[in-house]
């Protein structure tokens, strides 16, 4: 698994596109026809800092992606970055340039886990 692609400038705020599962969009009252959610996240941008901003802006999402206390990712959610699965990387890993400049979204995906 590749990790970071170069250091980030710490004084910059990035506009990060985030792709959320349908159920979380509904929970956060994000219209179904809305374009990608855009978060303003100061550098260094990581999955953890994106989730911090997401939960700050949408408090109802606290506990839905990661545990309230341990901050561990919920088992059936995955993080995809530039067509790679970052779910098992440390969430403090800096995100790569295509995410920072908005060419690619940070994808938070509900695992395809079947069920009833």
């Amino acid at each position: 698994m590749k990790a970071a692609t170069g250091a980030q400038t710490t004084s910059i705020t990035h506009h990060i596109r985030v792709d959320l599962p349908l159920h979380l969009r509904r929970l956060a009252n994000i219209p179904a026809d809305a374009r990608d959610l855009i978060l303003e996240v100061p550098a260094p941008v990581t999955i953890a800092s994106c989730l911090d901003e997401l939960e700050h802006r949408f408090p109802m999402l606290r506990g839905t992606i990661r545990d309230h206390i341990t901050r561990q990712r919920r088992a059936f959610l995955r993080f995809f970055v530039c067509m790679e699965d970052w779910s098992h990387l440390p969430t403090e890993t800096p995100l790569p340039k295509p995410i920072l400049d908005g060419r690619e979204p940070l994808i938070i995906l509900g695992a395809i886990a079947g069920g009833y």
Binding site: P21, M60, G63, T64, I65, R74, L77, G110, Y116
Partner: protein, 371 residues
Amino acid sequence: MSSVRLLIGTRKGAFILTADGSRTDWAISGPCFPGWEIYHLKGSPADPNRLYASQTSSWFGQQIQRSEDGGLTWSPVNNEFQYTGSPGTHQTYDGTAQPWQFKRIWHLEPSLTDPDSVFAGAEDAGLFQTSDGGLHWREIPGLRTSETGPRWQPGAGGLCLHTILLHPTDPERMVIAISAAGAFRTDDAGKTWKPINKGLYSKYLPDPSAEIGHCVHHIAMHPQRPDTLFMQKHWDVMRSDDAGDHWTKISGNLPTDFGFVIDVHAHQPNTVYVVPIKSDSEHFPLDGRLQVFRSRTGGNEWEPLTRGLPQEHCYVNVLRDAMAVDTLEDCGIYFGTTGGQVYCSPDGGETWKAITHDLPAVLSVEVQTLP
């Protein structure tokens, strides 16, 4: 004219069914929270427009939703349920110790007097309370940390606290039930708890009369006679007349005494309803016939109620929180099935009619009788 509002929790969302007092023509709204499991919804007795819902998902965890307008609109409130202190362990299926871990809320029981106060029964078994309408939840730790807690084991559905009965006049007294630990009572507002399982007999236990370990499925109480409790255990229908200190079997002539739901007529404290299920291996009605059984004698003598219910090829289940009674003069009885039917009897069980046939599997049914 009075009206009724049914609050239906299903595997794929919540539904609200309303009718006037005749209970013949129903309006169905929903799904609310589509795609989520709604284990339970319940309205505040002190403010019927204040509703609470337990919304849960294996993917996204627990949410608690609150409505101020009888379910027209909802808002999520706090969803953080933390066990107090170092949680310790309970027993798991293989007999090893397992740390307590919050999974979901099975049952919400609003206070009888305060719309902002709600008790919540959790899996893994813990009792939580909010005093501010769900903005904060705190555990009532005396139950889980009582002497027997480390020996509790889950039932097949998990180690779930599914029944919460509030005493109508004594705020210090509460009865709860846990699968598969048994029934417990506090007489000091939750500070201390004692197992109330004397008289229960569970042949699947090494000691069938053990202090704990009984798979209690549901308990019902009539508010006019709060010391009398009716229990549907895994097998056996039971009754206590001393608030759970002693239980006696009242299965009587039931064709099978396995089942999940049990409830009491709103105006006749000795009239009890159950839905017998064939067995713990076959969770469907005996002989494919859906029958409610009623006892007018507080147990032992039961009569089948079948008019309007399917009497062939019916293989649904009726889960533990999926029966309710209204308080209209001719008490209405309601239950929902895992096949998505919701049945209503507007006459105490004499006749039944399906309000709807095709909802997702029904997890819970509550009814509000509105002025």
